[in-house]
Subunit: 458 residues, 4 copies
């Protein structure tokens, strides 16, 4: 399903650890899968906040020189996937607010659903915005509140609706804030004598983080004076972690709200296998990289051997090198190849994590058929995506979601598979003890939609 | 073993196919694993040869503009790994020879062992060299021969000793040449109404190539006037394909001299399992990406379940971002992570393809132990590397080859594994019906070493 | 005196003329001498405002691609010299304010002396600033006013103290505003069927502008609906155009408030000659480029022949190429050379426009002596600079102004001239019928100094 | 006449002076007017030769890092203007020849008229050329000679026909070579305890060079072992310095074969004035920069006052920013402006150095008329250019030389001047005691033309 859904961001922070910017570089590198179009780091040495950001991968934006300039022991960073029309440098984070009362830096993952009305009101009251992202609203709201910084953040969080997991850094503190439903993941861990905060726990392995704690939905966690304090800014509502975080976005070595992603996926594959009892097949193949876990879960549960029938090119080819339609049609082949000697003459269980527009699935089936596959039984480790997401995933409109317009059989015909099955929403929920947001499968949005209500039927 | 051995090149060519440069872009992209430090394409429209090259990945060096400029239906291209001190733009290929008698372009994979004496003689006779690579000698030799281009290439090939697989392109033809032992792979396939030539067959899948033919050791294959002609410039000697091509360099979806790389690796894993009968272990883990095939072969043969216990970051972090030794020590973690929920408490069979300096193996073992592994039994899908390679692999000196100085037990202690086993040279040879060059394991070099004889004991 | 004083900006605008961005490129190119460290253009097609900006010369920041993207018939642009510490991209203009009520773009030349207190008040009221320049205040003030855009600009202008000449562009109009004393120049002209607005009139020659009108001190000129309207936002106060605009900054082919710069300078040279009656000298030499006019005025009035004894290298060498103090000392030689065959054995009247730190004068005298000059009589076409400027010229502190600490004779000794004379403030005023700001010569600042009062004695 | 004729190169060298690369940077910066499209420096520390080169100005190609890498006390450098089609990086100099017998670097100014036949013969003998410039031949010829380096250079120089002034640097010596007619200038001077060699003497002022000696036509000057030795490789023929070096190319502060360029130009202006006795005019104006000297010579001789009626923008605008013909027609205005207050109502003597295609002259006349000039009497400080140059000046074909096809009166009409006069070849020769090459005026080429004979009538 790669290339079809995009997570919009990853956040990372470090409090009271030497070489904070370098650690943040490592952390963001481990979060690079959450956004490749821009990134940045802000750092504080206790007195002054400095930042560096740009468009591109973390390894493209940061060389030795900017990292050395960013001295200090407090830092926050961000990787960004920019939605259509939004690839402005002004939207790249961290965003800064510099005033005679001090400097604040902010990084944010999520989507504020009442952004337009908040922004209009702020503009009418005299605020000037630089970019087009909803994240900028958070800094403006904070600037206009009264009281301590904690109090300002609390007042701000109460006005925000939707999905958010953001960090605010001052000269000597970091605040981590998560929305009332916990739609986006956020946790922290001990590292050396300080702390690090991250969208995903896989970063902690890289920098030897330990004693992981999840920021709870509706919480503000404050890191200052070498202490951690938890504050609740709103009563917790039904927990609803984005299901796609488990299914597709997060790295298999991350745990979200205590549940390991790889094990979640293996369980989803096992559930698919249970529904297929008696199926006759020779091998199980997963679409790399995100469906390997589910495929191995299916193989284990079914007893059908797992095989590496598809391999992925590790090198990314820029998509602009596609001069003609004829060559563009070959696009998918640059990323995936089928291994003929494995696939030829075989009856294949093909596991993918999800189907968005269906074009990728169709191409992979064709690729396997050209390599000699005899039968292809496609199994999707998630339910049918039939509603757009307004909580930070770029699924554009219902129009483009193929499952919103086709039955399973029509879809099976479209992708030329011999059979096709999805997980049900109930099966999905059964895997994870915590609550899930399944709005993209069943339209049960966990908040009012405000600005986006009218987009629902586009 | 990644990061320790480097292949020096990949070559690709296209004859009489529309948009030859774009196809070559696709082909080189599929060969990118064979060299990431430089690349280039030369193209001919039948009258004029144009070229573009630079340092970096194919996606960095080529944007739309240069590709559009490279119009024509004949093309050759190159990806390059540059050895120490040789990262000059002058060494990036294709190399061109422009004269009033016409233009020749050349791409080369391999290493000429009598390069220094050939070069000195050419310089004494008045030739001027631009770079430091041995490839440049080939063009100079051709320029000084008499007769047809075929005859010149034949005379040149006869003077070259060592490993070579090179392509020569004139305004309207391509010649593919392979050394007498076939140390480096080279084959061609039909594509559309023309042909493509490649170091590895994986490229043919990308561009719908079919009817694959290997260039035989000691052969010149000439593509001109819409025909293919095979010429033998020297009697074939003992075939000796580089064993490391199967073990590490080539992509699993390639077949070299008719043997699929993935199946070769699975067989090597199965051989390791056969030697381990009765071993007690919970899971088999392969070091991604190159050892996954061998690990699944081991798992299948042993019945011990294969698990994805290590995952690799898909994004490449520049290594210059390592300000301190402390952070440098964390280097390997940026590329590999262990999944704790899989690894914890387990007795692990850890499969890697080879050991060069040993530092990477040592770090992976440490990584798994930190993630809670109970036992780690390391199995290497190749023999001990005890001699340097002079045929195109960058292994520098014996000094740096850890297996040249330690027994298996000492090595096991060094990497902190619970047990360690290698394949024997005989087992390795048993996998592949064609001949293998195993010089790096047993010192049986297939040619005289000329310039390099004295390097053997460094 | 080059390299010692820096103008901070030039502004340019075009209203209702096809290819507005290209014309603005030409206009800014003609204003490039007013600032070389950053530049930008914003353009409107009547519905949408687009902009492009960057650090460097106009020819470096703009290539064909960005200019083509900037389609529309209304545009404003800016060239910027950034003072120490202020070379942030955030400070490069045009600055934009994007809101649901429409987009405003702004370019500004000058310096707001009550900037700090205005900014602090705005921040306390919830505004967030992006950069450190005082120009940003203007947009924030406008955003917070009520009524029509004209009314908002009027209210804003009334709150600003100091030197300013700024342009505000909306989707379909431009407003040109000049401070009450007219410290910075601003005028407009007809071009094709529309208008252009500029810091200097030299731009009109480049784009065939005609019928030049000066924006009066205290005026807002509104360009909209194909009309020009003049509004007075404040009663005119004593006109006080910056004297250094005539003496040094502006191009000789510009006229400021109706007075041609070249003629002003010639007159200043003639006044110097009148004071030197009876002086014995062989040739008059002007320091290129800014002192050529004054030197020819001196030559004409004195009858002593003008000679081209110094020539300037047209190519700019980056100053960072100065590895050692020894080479750094040669710095000035890279820009100026003396022509020995003219200078040798001569008694020279050397005309320069002004003296700031004195180091350049000292070097030029040395240069001429080494080329064989017999006597050097230095004449400065302005009074002694003894006070810092707070109206947009970068003279830093009194500390650095050599004339604030030395008598004429001490200064003459310091630069090793045979004699030295300055113009008096009265002589300077006698040249120009309009009023001049001579604060840098006599400390008579035309406004209260607010934030800068304490800097006066640094 | 700027923008119409292009010199092809400038060379510079330093022998036994600390920081040789930095001094060469300064020297090339002073020679930048001789070529702006590419440049490079090679340096030797006595054992190893290193080089850096690129396309663009010296300030663009060299930053601090490459200069620091170029350590050593011997260096040569080059600035290059590339003729049409030849803007290849391969053509940028210094060119290097690296062999086991040592490294040679070469820089060359001029044009070899028998280049094609020399190159063809070398290719037939097995040499491979990298670029398309004739300079590369020199290195190949040297490589094929026998004996000492001095002997090889002597044998090479004897085979070259045409215009050349080149430097050859080995690890510990520099050889300076000038053609038999001295068509291109070359001299050397003492600097510190060593020497510098340069196309023009203006460089010596920048780096405190003294005791200037011209390399004589037909000479090789060898710098080695702290000594200078002069060798004659061929009997001197009629000295024939390119007249355009005095008229247009060289800087006014240079002396060529002992004659100062500024004084040469003043004399040419005075000769023009003598032919105009009795002419009625108000002011004399020179086209900046190259015609200022001639204009001041005219003014002095005629008694008509010199005025600065045209000024030149110091900043170079890239020519690609010219989206429409309408804007392109304004091109010249970006570089030159007329000062209306000087020009208006005046009868003007307009001095330019030469006329090539006539388009620039036509535009300048138009510019002055638009600024209100009453009469424009154009005087050209050189004869009519009626033949192409094959000695290093880019005049392309006779077709494009307007004076080859029009009488003086037709030309006067074409440029819309009130009158027009040229210098005669005899007048030109009368200025300079040494011989001049006047081939572009009278077709008297000083050598056989070989490869170019047929181009004469194109």
């Amino acid at each position: 399903m790669f290339d079809e859904l995009h997570e919009e961001c990853g956040v990372f922070g470090v409090y009271h650890v030497a070489e904070a910017a370098s650690l943040t570089y490592y952390g963001l590198h481990a979060l690079q899968h959450r956004g490749q179009e821009g990134c940045g780091i802000a750092v504080s040495d206790g007195r002054q906040v400095k930042s560096h950001k740009g468009r591109g991968l973390i390894s493209e934006v940061f060389s030795e020189a900017p990292l050395q300039r960013l001295s200090g022991d407090i830092a926050i960073g961000h990787v960004r996937y920019s939605t259509a029309g939004g690839n402005l440098l002004e939207n790249v984070q961290p965003m800064l607010s510099v005033s005679h009362r001090g400097t604040l830096a902010m990084v944010h993952n999520g989507q504020i659903v009442n952004a337009t009305r908040l922004r209009n009101a702020l503009e009418d009251a005299g605020s000037i915005f630089q970019g087009t992202s909803d994240s900028e609203i958070i800094l403006h709201l904070i600037q206009r509140q009264k009281g301590s910084l904690l109090e300002k953040i609390r007042q701000t969080a109460l006005q925000l609706e939707g999905a958010f997991a953001f960090l605010i850094m001052s000269e000597n503190s970091i605040y981590a804030v998560r929305d009332r439903h916990g739609l986006r993941p956020l946790s922290y861990a001990k590292v050396q004598d300080g702390y690090c905060i991250s969208s995903e726990t896989c970063t902690y392995d890289v920098i030897s983080g330990r004693s992981i704690v999840d920021v709870q939905p509706g919480e503000i966690v404050k890191f200052s004076d070498d202490r951690v304090e938890h504050f609740r800014y709103a009563p917790a509502e039904r927990p609803a972690m984005c299901a796609m975080e488990y299914i597709y976005f997060s790295r298999p070595d991350s745990a979200l709200d205590g549940v390991n992603v790889h094990l979640f996926r293996k369980a989803s594959g096992a559930l698919l296998a249970r529904k297929d009892q008696g199926i006759e097949a020779d091998i199980v193949i997963g679409v790399p990289d995100s469906s390997i876990s589910a495929a191995s879960g299916y193989a284990e549960a079914s007893g059908i051997p797992y095989e590496m029938g598809l391999i992925k090119n590790r090198y990314v080819a820029r998509t602009f090198i596609q001069p003609t339609q004829q060559l563009r049609d070959r696009g998918v082949r640059m990323k995936l190849s089928a291994i003929r000697s494995i696939v030829e003459g075989k009856r294949i269980i093909l596991i993918d994590d999800s189907i968005v527009r269906g074009t990728t699935s169709r191409r992979i089936v064709q690729l396997l058929r050209e390599a000699g596959a005899r039968e292809i039984h496609m199994r999707i480790a998630s339910p049918m995506i039939t509603y757009p997401c307004f909580y930070g995933v770029d699924t554009s409109t219902r129009q483009e979601l193929i499952a919103a317009h086709k039955s399973v059989q029509e879809l099976c015909d479209y992708i030329h598979a011999d059979s096709l099955r999805f997980l049900s929403v109930e099966e999905l929920r059964s895997i994870c003890k915590g609550g899930l947001c399944t709005a993209c499968f069943d339209g049960q949005y966990v908040t009012e939609l405000y600005d986006y209500a009218e987009k629902l039927n586009e």
